[in-house]
Symmetry: C2
Subunit: 509 residues, 2 copies
């Protein structure tokens, strides 16, 4: 009697909690390049397992194995949801067979992230099939697969619907970044780990730029982040890129070495006249090169107010000797820092001010990081340099008034039609500056807006919605997915990290 | 050269990140009953382990063992922080020896939660000592121990300072509750698990009241929560108590059984005239009794607008036959529901409206749950009934304007001086109602304000600060501890879940 009632309420719950899971709809985020699907369903077997028949990848460091374990964790909500065993074998999916063509697990800019995913509707010994060029493409395929699984409230079992699935997929841009400012506030390690996890859910990120040395905060990182670099992020297919912002935003350096400050009362930019400044940059970049294996390093170069240089007698004297005005000294500093980074094998990313001031002088391998406004990418690529887009009006997460719709519609290739120039736009990066963000609010400030940018950066332009309205339900579904996985993604309506409205499910906020 | 600089910055970081860790200060939250400490320090050994020499507790279900594993996880930030091995044995703490006097692991209202914790300054084979009546007292001791450990940025090792430690501790109140409203919004399981974890950090909670059946949401819970009840919460010493709110706040019942609604247009309170209403309550409480082993069940009884009863012909007719007016019918309903709960072995908690309207008729074992205002507890205990304090002006977490200082200074025994009457106040409960709370903001709305109430409920009244200013730094330290453990506790300044202010460490928000 009771259980009857509970079943009826279950159905009600089903509508409430999985209301947005419209079986006629695709609920995969970001949208793959090509998707075909049917109308059949299948249960996941209790012995659901990983096979690698025909794979060339040895998985010596367990990247694939751990990825599969994480898949099981998220689809079973850490073993709360049950698999099925009581149904006919032909209605069960036994596992996934993953074939990886490359035996290397090097994680680097531009690696092949493509994959193919097949889920057959039936047959004895039915296994889903994944084929990928690299293990990191296979990890993306597992993320997509996890989004095909859902909990059926009537059977109380894990189900995949809309079978058979045929999905082929690859990213539109290789550089899909999220910047975390670990300097302005203390960002706890567990939070950064969760952000890395959720980046992988959104296929968002090949890199985090950690804003090192802004005000405070770099050495503390070395202890912890080096361990993350070595293992945690790489196992999730995420490169970590460090920003060493010079000569501005570097006040904290002077705490260790006061001589790097022009003077006690005029503490930035770093003293351009002091050879030790560059010796220290060389030392830090030498340390970085042992930890951060990504081919790029970020040298900042933004928001440099050089007035302290002229205001400090010994530096003023040096400027006169060199015959430099302040802006020439700024150029001298940035180019000298670039040479040091190049000597450590890095290609350099600099904020757009360096391009706006002396673009023609920059190392030809420089990647210019746009942030001030739109239209910069076009100028950069026309000058032959490469570009990353982060225009603050649309892709700065700390701008709470920037809606997910703005994040979604921000097009990196605006007004860039020449295919050769388009290739010079490496991608983009959403930036989580930390003035008002710490362990208490970073997740809901990043999500779900970062996911909107993730689809812009991942999905083939032809499959991107012209009108964000057309993807609202699907993004809402992804937001609920993040919540279900313990990520505090905020509701979609309203500004960043808005509180949910009146009672309802996570699908109707 | 570089490393010198990094060390200097490290010290700077130390001040920034552990600035509030004043070694002349006690940074334990909530404050134990009695604490003695010295000025020595010791490293934790690489082989830091658990011993149970002389313990009567078999730990068949692994409650102590898992508690110790969680201790290692939090003090090492999941194995990021290193133990020490390179120093002299006499400077190393080898582990903890835990002696438990009771062999039972029954978790119930009123069990002995006391413990004694000793950490000696030196000696070969140096083990910390914990003695507790029950395993749950021992879990509290492990939480206290975890707060004695900190990361030394110079040695980069785990250290305990202020040795030797002699701590004896027990809670002031046995009922220290946090209510989570799982009905108005979907609260993801990982979030509820994290809330349970953080309750244990604050020694806050013997119980969560899950607000069942408010609008929606109970059956979904049965699948998941029953597993949590059985294992997750109990392993952390946390009882889970369910609220079955009747006759009001029960609209969702009618989705399964429309006949429970007075009519389609007048959907609450539940139909008092329909015997099936009570049959269903009996059925649900029968289910509850298999899942929720805590001696109390919450039957709600609040905010009942009975006008639908008179407005519905068949119920109006029934009222006339019974000679009831609406308020008599409300009393009839509540008392009948109480009898059903008692028949399932429960003692009943009801919201204060039941007491305010017909307190003398309530089952003598009723626990009255105060929420409307202050002064109620005094009336309740003077009438001989027991009371739980949750006055909304100070202990409703959804009231964002209620500051941590208000949470801290809210005294359950206000104007209750007679020791026999004081015993009738079981404790209190902070309430996280879910109108604007879901997986995206529940943690920072609960913490750190709930921790302020936790000390009020745990700590001996003589050791509570008269002026909350005196505990601000210590609570700030606990807030940072929560952040370091991945709990999104908000800054202390300002209203609930406020964003952090300008750049700084988590100690100066």
């Amino acid at each position: 009697m009771i259980w009857q009632s509970i079943y009826v309420v279950l159905m009600f719950q089903f509508v409430l909690v999985f209301g947005a899971y419209d079986l006629k709809n695709l609920n995969i985020w970001p949208m793959p390049e090509s998707v075909e699907y049917g109308a059949k369903s299948i249960f996941l077997s209790k012995e659901f397992h990983l096979k690698t028949d025909g794979s060339k990848y040895p998985d010596a460091s367990g990247i694939l194995k751990d990825g599969f374990t994480r898949l099981l964790d998220v689809i079973t909500a850490n073993n709360i949801i049950e698999f099925n065993s009581k149904v006919d074998d032909s209605l069960l999916l036994q596992g996934i067979n993953v074939v990886i063509l490359s035996d290397s697990d090097e994680l680097q800019y531009g690696i092949d992230e493509s994959y193919k995913l097949l889920v057959h509707a039936n047959g004895k010994q039915n296994y889903a099939e994944i084929e990928a060029a690299t293990v990191y493409g296979a990890l993306h395929a597992l993320q997509t697969f996890s989004q095909l699984c859902h909990f059926n409230f009537k059977s109380r079992k894990l189900v995949i619907s809309q079978l058979p699935w045929t999905i082929t997929d690859k990213p539109r841009f290789s550089y899909r970044g999220l910047l975390i400012d670990t300097s302005r506030h203390y960002q706890p390690l567990p939070m950064i780990k969760k952000v890395i996890d959720s980046m992988a859910y959104a296929k968002l990120v090949k890199c985090i730029a950690l804003a090192y040395c802004r005000y405070t905060g770099f050495s503390f990182r070395n202890t912890f982040f080096s361990k993350i670099m070595g293992c945690y992020a790489k196992k999730r297919g995420i490169n970590v890129l460090a920003e060493l912002d010079v000569p501005g935003h570097a006040v904290s350096w002077g705490v260790g070495y006061p001589e790097l400050w022009p003077s006690k009362n005029c503490t930035e930019p770093l003293d351009v006249s002091n050879e030790f400044t560059f010796k220290l940059i060389n030392g830090v970049l030498s340390d970085f090169s042992k930890i951060f294996k990504y081919k790029f390093v970020h040298l900042g170069g933004d928001e440099v107010d050089t007035s302290c240089w002229s205001a400090t007698p010994r530096i003023k004297k040096w400027l006169e000797q060199k015959g430099f005005n302040e802006s020439q000294a700024y150029e001298y500093f940035v180019l000298k820092a670039q040479k040091i980074a190049v000597s450590h094998g890095y290609e350099v990313i600099n904020w757009e001010e360096t391009f706006n001031n002396f673009g023609s002088k920059l190392d030809r391998k420089t990647v210019v990081h746009n942030w001030l406004g739109s239209g910069v990418a076009q100028k950069v690529v026309e000058s032959g340099l490469r570009c990353i887009v982060s225009n603050q009006d649309s892709w700065y997460l700390d701008h709470l008034d920037a809606t997910w719709q703005q994040f979604y519609t921000n097009e990196p290739l605006t007004n860039i039609t020449n295919p050769n120039l388009q290739k010079l736009v490496l991608g983009g990066e959403v930036c989580m500056w930390g003035e008002h963000v710490d362990g208490s609010d970073i997740e809901q400030t990043i999500w779900p807006r970062a996911a909107a940018a993730a689809e812009r950066l991942w999905t083939n332009v032809g499959r991107l919605a012209k009108n964000p309205k057309d993807v609202g339900l699907r993004l809402m579904h992804f937001r609920c997915l993040l919540n279900q996985r313990g990520v505090a993604a905020a509701p979609l309506d309203g500004p960043g990290r808005v509180a949910p409205i009146e009672p309802g499910s996570c699908y109707v906020q």
